[in-house]
């Protein structure tokens, strides 16, 4: 019965209810859109910089990450291999050797990153073979390298041309050699596209004079949810000689950039919700102020204040739920569409994103948290707005209310 009365009370002032409900609808839909866009961009950023290269977990010789020195390398011993392979959650790992070299053609040169890797594993994790636009992917035994598109263009080299690499070998030895270009790679991240060479691990180990050594093991895990567990386990089984880092430690700037951008978005939504909350509060306040006498009658004829409060709570919840449901339904459809149709960016916006190393695509996320947090926000607003009428009812005096 209370629910029926509450429902009818909500519709006593139809216009007011509709305006209030649509303000909630507007705010929640906007919030869903914004959060989905932001979360989607972060996921995109993380995917671009983590999944497509560093992996979620890496193992190095202790201290390597700090100075990236080629002298701090690790050897993949049988024990290390067994320990890694037997860690639950670890699917496989890529041994890599990374170093900086001066890449040169006959005429010009450029300082670039060269990555020695195991071709099969690399392809399994980062789908490197899919990035070959010219020539062919390599194998363990290839005597040749893959050069990124931008670099090849800069050096004026193509497939089967020879590239010179000048660098520093293990323990300060000089390393100079030339290799045929096996293939050209295209990366959407411009930084990678302009500055990367991939070589089979063996080849680069020969180049640097460090047989059997590598600088990092990029670990692939079965599920991102197991990240912390895998990391903890690896840290404990590998011991003091190694460092186990997750992507958050390896890319603190990415994490913080996301955090600060995220904070900005949340603050804006906070302001939006504050404004909406005032609107809801105004409605709820008027609903109880207009009906003081009616409340008085209800108490006089024998309705407990608890029941009366419950009725008011129901009224507010109905308004909140209507707005929330309408916007969630609409939001799910909108976001599903946006999720499957990311917006490609052009012009300066694209340049700005490329500069930050992100593919210029606005992606949307369907993370359930986006939905639940809006529900939570509206619920909190509803209950804060309810404080006034509930307080009003609690000090309601039948006599004074009746005299109204």
């Amino acid at each position: 019965m209370l629910l029926a009365i509450a429902w009818r009370n909500v519709w006593r002032n139809k216009r007011r209810t509709i305006i209030t409900v649509s303000s909630i609808f507007f705010a929640v839909l906007l919030a869903l859109f914004m959060r989905s866009l932001q979360t989607g961009s972060y996921e995109n950023m993380i995917r671009n910089s983590v999944e497509l290269y560093s992996g979620y977990i890496q193992v190095h010789r202790k201290g390597y990450w700090e100075d990236k020195s080629i002298n701090r390398m690790l050897r993949v011993t049988d024990t290390l291999d067994t320990r890694l392979a037997s860690t639950p959650g670890v699917t496989f790992y890529i041994p890599r050797l990374e170093t900086f070299v001066l890449a040169a053609s006959n005429e010009i040169s450029k300082g670039v990153m060269v990555i020695g890797t195991s071709p099969q594993e690399e392809d399994r994790m980062t789908h490197l073979s899919g990035k070959v636009v010219n020539g062919a992917y390599f194998s363990d035994s290839t005597h040749g390298v893959l050069v990124s598109e931008g670099l090849a263009g800069y050096l004026g080299l193509g497939v089967n041309d020879t590239i010179v690499m000048i660098g520093q070998g293990y323990h300060g030895a000089n390393a100079v050699d030339k290799y045929p270009i096996q293939g050209i790679l295209h990366f959407s991240n411009p930084q990678a596209n302009d500055n990367t060479i991939y070589a089979p691990l063996k080849l680069l180990q020969q180049f640097t004079g460090a047989p059997d050594l590598c600088t990092a093991l990029a670990v692939s895990i079965d599920d991102l949810k197991h990240l912390d567990r895998v990391k903890r386990h690896l840290t404990s089984v590998l011991g003091e000689r190694y460092e186990v880092m997750d992507w958050k430690e390896m890319q603190p700037e990415l994490v913080q950039a996301i955090q600060s951008d995220n904070a900005g978005g949340i603050i804006l939504l906070g302001i939006l919700y504050l404004v909406i909350a005032f609107g809801i509060f105004g409605t709820v306040m008027m609903m109880s102020m207009e009906r003081r006498r009616e409340f008085g009658v209800m108490v006089a004829v024998g309705m407990q204040k608890r029941a009366l409060s419950l009725m008011v709570v129901m009224e507010t919840c109905i308004i909140g739920l209507l707005g929330l449901m309408a916007s969630l339904v609409m939001g799910i459809f909108l976001l599903l569409y946006m999720y499957h149709h990311p917006i490609p960016l052009t012009g300066n916006a694209a340049l700005a994103m490329r500069d930050m190393g992100i593919e210029p695509l606005i992606r949307f996320s369907l993370d359930p948290v986006i939905f639940t947090s809006q529900m939570l926000a509206i619920t909190v607003i509803m209950f804060v707005c309810l404080l006034y009428p509930l307080w009003n009812i609690s000090r309601l005096n039948a006599i004074t209310a009746l005299r109204h």
Binding site: N13, R15, R16, I19, T20, S23, F26, L30, D67, K68, S69, I70, T99, F100, V101, L102, N106, E107, I108, S109, K110, G111, V112, M113, Y154, I166, G167, Q168, G172, N195, P252, E253, L254, V255, Q256, A257, I258, Q259, S260, G264, L268, G270, I271, L272, L274, V275, I276, F278, G279, F281, G282, T283, M285, G347, N348, A349, A352, R354, D355, M356
Partner: protein, 405 residues
């Protein structure tokens, strides 16, 4: 008279009016403050980029920018420097010699961009000399000194006076190398810039490359950012584009220009969203105010108040209500912005992330006075729009029915 009635009407239902005024005040304060922070960040980023990286304008030989090919230098640099320096609106000019290569220490090696500079000229262009955290800005006349960023120092594991071997290609494509000592360590807010740029004396670089008196970049500082387009146009007219490329900071860092432009679009979008949310509240409040006064409006109509007057009474009431809230919000945020604009907000907790994108960890919110005027106009427009429906509803009333209803 109508204005007075409208104003008093607002205060008849005091609490309802106060709620909506508070909503407007809070919404606008939040909005203005957010905008001030974004604006402050963008300005700061732009200023830092111009001061430490691009200067206002740069001139290169055509084609140099694509690959920084050392063979493409400015053939008539002395005359160009003189001409550019004499342009009205130009404050300072400096010639640079730029080369790319690799820097290596005993521990590690990285790709770098070497900026060969003449310190006394460069000081008028770039504020890098103010960003030193250790050492000095080529104060002693020692040979082969290099300024590196603290990030590079960390990567190479070198400190002040540490040895860095630089490898690069000379005009003939031969690889040449030279050992430098770290004379100073700088730190700007842009990690990307810090990671790639090192500074050496131009004459040292010339000697290593066996080039003399070569300039491949002219950096120009204008008296004011507004003067840049004029200077750029005149220089482009003077030097044929076939040989010389004159670029302003907008072309040098298109993404910066984009961020600068888009910041204002985003700022206005934020305000429009907040105003839209507020409009719901205003609309609701005014509708309630009208429906409470149906009888009274009927009486006013019956005694001969024209529909136009009733319409303007309601619109005025809405505008007064909104402007009261807006005025409060603007006063509060103007105070906040001016206070925090001087003292700054310390965001060092997020510093690393912000700096990766070229922002400083101290934020100084700032706004042009003109902005408040624009915003006031936007509030009036929002108020007008949200008063239309209630005013229209009031006009629909039939005086007789209204009085008896």
């Amino acid at each position: 008279m109508i204005a007075a009635i409208s104003w008093r009407n607002i205060w008849r239902n005091k609490w309802r009016s106060i709620v909506i005024i508070m909503a407007i005040t809070a919404g606008l304060t939040g909005g203005i403050f957010t905008v001030a922070i974004y604006n402050g960040l963008a300005e700061q980023k732009l200023r830092t980029a111009i001061d430490t990286q691009t200067a206002h304008l740069q001139m290169h030989a055509s084609g140099f920018q694509e690959n920084m090919d050392i063979r493409l230098y400015l053939h008539d640099a002395d005359r160009m420097l003189a001409v550019a320096g004499a342009q009205p609106g130009v404050q300072a000019v400096a010639g640079r010699l730029i080369a790319t290569g690799m820097a290596a220490s005993a521990n590690s090696n990285i790709g770098i961009r070497l900026n060969g500079i003449v310190p006394e000229k460069e000081k008028a262009i770039s504020t890098i000399y103010q960003s030193l955290v250790e050492g000095d800005y080529f104060q002693n006349e020692k040979r082969n000194q290099v300024l590196i960023s603290s990030r590079t120092a960390k990567k190479l594991k070198v400190g002040l006076n540490g040895k860095v071997v630089v490898t690069l290609q000379d005009l003939n494509g031969d690889i040449v190398g030279a050992a430098f000592r770290v004379g100073g360590i700088f730190k700007t807010t842009h990690t990307g810039f810090d990671e790639t740029n090192v500074f050496v004396l131009k004459r040292d670089l010339e000697r290593i490359l066996s080039m003399d008196g070569i300039v491949n970049e002219i950096a120009i500082r204008a008296s004011d950012i507004e003067a840049v387009p004029g200077v750029q146009r005149r220089l482009q007219e003077t030097f044929p584009p076939k040989e010389t490329q004159v670029e302003s900071w907008r072309e040098l860092q298109p993404e910066l220009a984009y961020i600068n432009d888009v910041t204002w679009q985003v700022n206005y979008l934020i305000l429009v969203i907040i105003l839209l949310a507020l409009a719901f509240g205003i609309l609701n409040t005014m509708l309630m105010a009208i429906f409470e006064r149906v009888r009274e409006i009927g009486v006013l109509m019956a005694v001969g108040m024209s529909k136009a007057r009733i319409f303007s009474m309601i619109i005025l009431e809405t505008v007064f209500l909104s402007l009261t809230g807006a005025a409060l919000g603007m006063v509060i945020s103007a105070w906040l912005v001016s206070t925090l604009g001087t003292s700054g907000i310390d965001l060092s907790a997020f510093a690393q992330g912000l700096e990766a994108f070229g922002y400083s960890s101290m934020i100084y919110p700032q706004l042009e006075p003109l902005f408040y005027l624009t915003l006031a106009c936007m509030v009036v427009i929002a108020a007008l729009l949200s008063s239309l429906y209630p005013a229209y509803k009031a006009l629909e009333l039939n005086p007789v029915e209204a009085i008896h209803g």
